[in-house]
């Protein structure tokens, strides 16, 4: 039994580096594209919903009802929309407005008599993302409108402080999330074809006849891409700090270690897919299907992991991106250290070892059939 040899792994790495250097397109993809995507979508994705198109139907037409209508439009969250000739329900059905407010006759009278004056709000539920937000804004509108109509403001019982992000800047959370997702998917794609390509072009047979061992092969193929991905991590870090002013509160060394663990996981996942499929077309299908949508939807990027049913929450533990998301937001935004984040860090280390081991074992079977 031959022992693991560093020089042999190194020569595999050198061969892989030569491959990459010959293909400037892949090089650009690895280093340039991630930072472009993070910057672009860092500006585009905005979860502070403003200017919601709203139709106000004021059938009371009194100073009181007009004050309520004005409260809606002055809040900055809503914008009146739609030609007056078209009925509100039709505008809703056609999706031209997101909500409609109906103020019936008697609104002002109710206020004068001191009983709750009611108005009906109809929300378009075909798009929950805004429907939930609209429902959330209504409380605030009711309070402001009450104050305008001369009521005493209700006693303030609570003062809230938002730790780690005083102004609730949603950009910080979007940029760190984008970083995890983009790196996660691209690193899988980087390695997904490397082994399958060698099988298809026949160069694998040549490699098999050399004394290189499976683990050396896997690590040798992994290392150059790890370097590439770390370079693009550095670029994204610079962009996040300079363009988005994301605070960096934790330790850089810990962040670097977390990155290496995460990239080992995803690069090994790509290699594993490549080893298992041996065919580029299949390898790509599998890596996109297991990489793209799960990283976007199940990692906690936008949809919180905490809100998932217990079974699915446990299922996400197998997803490297979910742990790295926790690590990244913890280190960058909270300044948490290895002690606080021991659990996700250990999970990542375990997953990395398991994926590298699995890829080597599967590869071994190929070598010695």
């Amino acid at each position: 039994m031959r022992r693991f040899s560093g020089p042999r792994a190194l020569s595999v790495a050198r061969k892989e580096i030569r491959h990459v250097r010959r293909d400037p397109f892949t090089l650009a993809m690895a280093v340039g594209v991630p930072v472009l995507l993070v910057v672009f979508f860092g500006y585009v994705l905005d979860f502070d919903v403003r200017d919601i198109r709203l139709r106000i139907v004021d059938r009371d037409n009194t100073p009181a009802s007009r004050a309520l209508a004005e409260t809606f439009t002055a809040s900055g969250y809503f914008k009146p929309h739609g030609p007056p000739a078209v009925s509100a329900l039709r505008l809703l059905a056609e999706g031209r407005v997101k909500a409609a407010v109906f103020i019936e006759p008697g609104f002002a009278e109710d206020i004068a008599r001191g009983i709750p004056a009611r108005a009906q709000v109809v929300i378009d539920g075909a798009d929950n993302q805004t429907a939930g937000v609209i429902a959330g804004y209504l409380d605030g509108v009711a309070t402001v409108a009450a104050r305008r109509l001369g009521a005493d403001p209700p006693a303030d019982l609570l003062r809230t402080r938002f730790l780690f992000n005083n102004e609730l800047n949603s950009r910080w959370f979007v940029v760190t999330g984008l970083f995890v997702v983009v790196m996660g998917v691209l690193s899988i794609l980087m390695t997904a074809l490397t082994v399958a390509r060698e099988w298809e072009t026949g160069s694998m047979e040549l490699l098999l006849s050399t004394p290189v061992r499976p683990l050396e092969m896997i690590l040798g193929k992994l290392a150059p891409y790890l370097g590439l991905c770390l370079a693009s991590t550095g670029l994204i870090y610079a962009a996040a700090r300079l363009l988005f002013h994301v605070p960096f509160r934790g330790s850089l060394w810990f962040f670097l270690a977390a990155n290496v663990l995460f990239l080992c996981c995803t690069l090994a996942q790509g290699l594993l897919i490549s080893v298992l499929t041996r065919q580029q077309q299949l390898a790509m299908q599998f890596s996109n299907l297991t990489g793209l949508l799960p990283a976007l939807l199940l990692s906690g990027f936008i949809f919180p992991v905490e809100s998932m049913p217990a079974f699915f929450r446990i299922l996400t533990w197998a997803l490297p991106a979910r742990h790295f998301m926790e690590l990244c937001r913890g280190i960058i935004l909270k300044g948490a250290g290895p002690l606080e984040l021991a659990r996700p860090a250990l999970w990542l280390a375990g997953l990395a070892a398991a994926l590298i081991g699995w890829a080597s074992v599967k590869f071994k079977r190929d070598l010695e059939p």
Binding site: V44, T130, L168, L189, S307, K334
Partner: protein, 360 residues
């Protein structure tokens, strides 16, 4: 039907369906993924770990705890310890601190407010938690005067605001787009890499037949997924299909054709399968994020909106929600559908023009 075309279709079907793993990719994974996302995802904020720090026998805070655990939105977190540490270590999402001497006594004195410290790393979640705790405290302190203005809220199309109902029609678009783009672009890039495309182009077959023959099979495969996905969405997730089925079919047809054309276009730029895959990613990643499934399109900055207007996935998702949830096939449906078709035609013409015989 044209014999050459039939031959093409037969060849591509055999190639795509020969491998058991490929059949899994085309027919099983889409349904599994849609089920997974439909069941798992929710943008409701749930399982908030709340720590309530109050002196013993503070009646107001005890009531609040009872309300919180009963609501199903909160889970208890340790009631002792430094609030900042609790949030830093992630053992709590929010800490409610009663004023000195307890909230009940403070209320009798008429001064002293409780303090709520919320983990702000997830801005969306933090805002929702703040709202929940305000509501809890108002309910617990049972001295709410009758409101001056009250809203009766009615939510159309999805009265319970079930996440699956609006998310599944969108996720369907993502999965369908992903599968068709990847199938098409890789298959053509493979032929180019292997050199068989050269043989084909040299054969005495009109160019349009080659183009149709290489794309039609993938349109058919993509369309085969549609009834599968719609059926699952309706039967498993109870997503209503309020509009006519022909409108769904029109939408899916235009979308799949556009996606296959896009996949073909990507493959004409790629020298090998690796580049085709990266090109596919370069299209899919932005298209998915700009589709309106992850974030509302209305919220995009002005300069980014035109990109959403050029995004076929965005139209499919919007049309799908219109037909399935609103049941409305009106002017908006037809105008968006027309744009989707126009996009498809332009992309298809571009791809056909690039699939030219010069193989330098």
């Amino acid at each position: 039907m044209n014999a050459t075309l039939v031959g093409f279709v037969r060849k591509e079907f055999r190639q795509a369906l020969r491998d058991r793993r490929m059949r899994v990719v085309i027919f099983v994974i889409p349904v599994v993924q849609m089920t997974l996302f439909g069941l798992a995802l929710s943008n409701e904020v749930k399982n908030v770990r709340l720590s309530v720090q109050a002196p013993p026998a503070d009646r107001l805070m005890d009531d609040l705890r009872k309300g919180a655990w009963g609501s199903g939105w909160f889970r208890p977190a340790p009631d002792q310890g430094d609030p900042v540490r609790l949030l830093e270590t992630g053992r709590a999402d929010a800490v409610l601190i009663a004023p000195g001497g307890g909230a009940s006594r403070a209320r009798e004195r008429g001064d002293g407010r409780a303090q709520l410290v919320v983990d702000g790393t997830n801005a969306l979640r933090a805002r929702a938690i703040d709202g929940y705790v305000h509501a809890l405290l108002r309910r617990a302190s049972d001295e709410t005067p009758p409101p001056v203005v009250a809203f009766d809220v009615r939510t159309l199309y999805n009265p319970t605001l079930a996440t699956a109902v609006y998310l599944v029609p969108g996720v369907m678009g993502l999965i369908l787009g992903l599968i068709t783009i990847l199938l098409t672009s890789m298959s053509l890039a493979r032929e180019r890499e292997m050199g068989t495309l050269e043989t084909l182009l040299a054969a005495p077959v009109p160019r349009w037949e080659i183009f149709l023959g290489k794309t039609l099979p993938f349109v058919l495969l993509g369309l085969a997924d549609v009834p599968l996905l719609v059926g699952f969405a309706h039967l498993v997730f109870g997503v209503p299909v309020r509009g006519p089925l022909w409108a769904l079919a029109l939408n899916a047809g235009a979308f799949v054709v556009t996606m296959v054309a896009t996949g073909t276009l990507i493959s004409t730029f790629a020298k090998n399968q690796q580049q085709a895959m990266m090109g596919g990613f370069l299209f899919l990643f932005p298209a998915i994020l700009l589709s309106g499934v992850m974030a509302p399109v209305e919220n995009f900055p002005l300069w980014a909106k035109p990109l959403a207007w050029l995004n076929p996935i965005q139209y499919f998702v919007s049309l799908n929600r219109q037909v399935m949830l609103r049941g409305a096939v009106g002017p908006l449906f037809w105008s968006e559908w027309a744009v989707l078709c126009a996009l498809g035609v332009v992309i298809a013409l571009w791809a056909a023009a690039r699939l030219n015989p010069d193989l330098r």
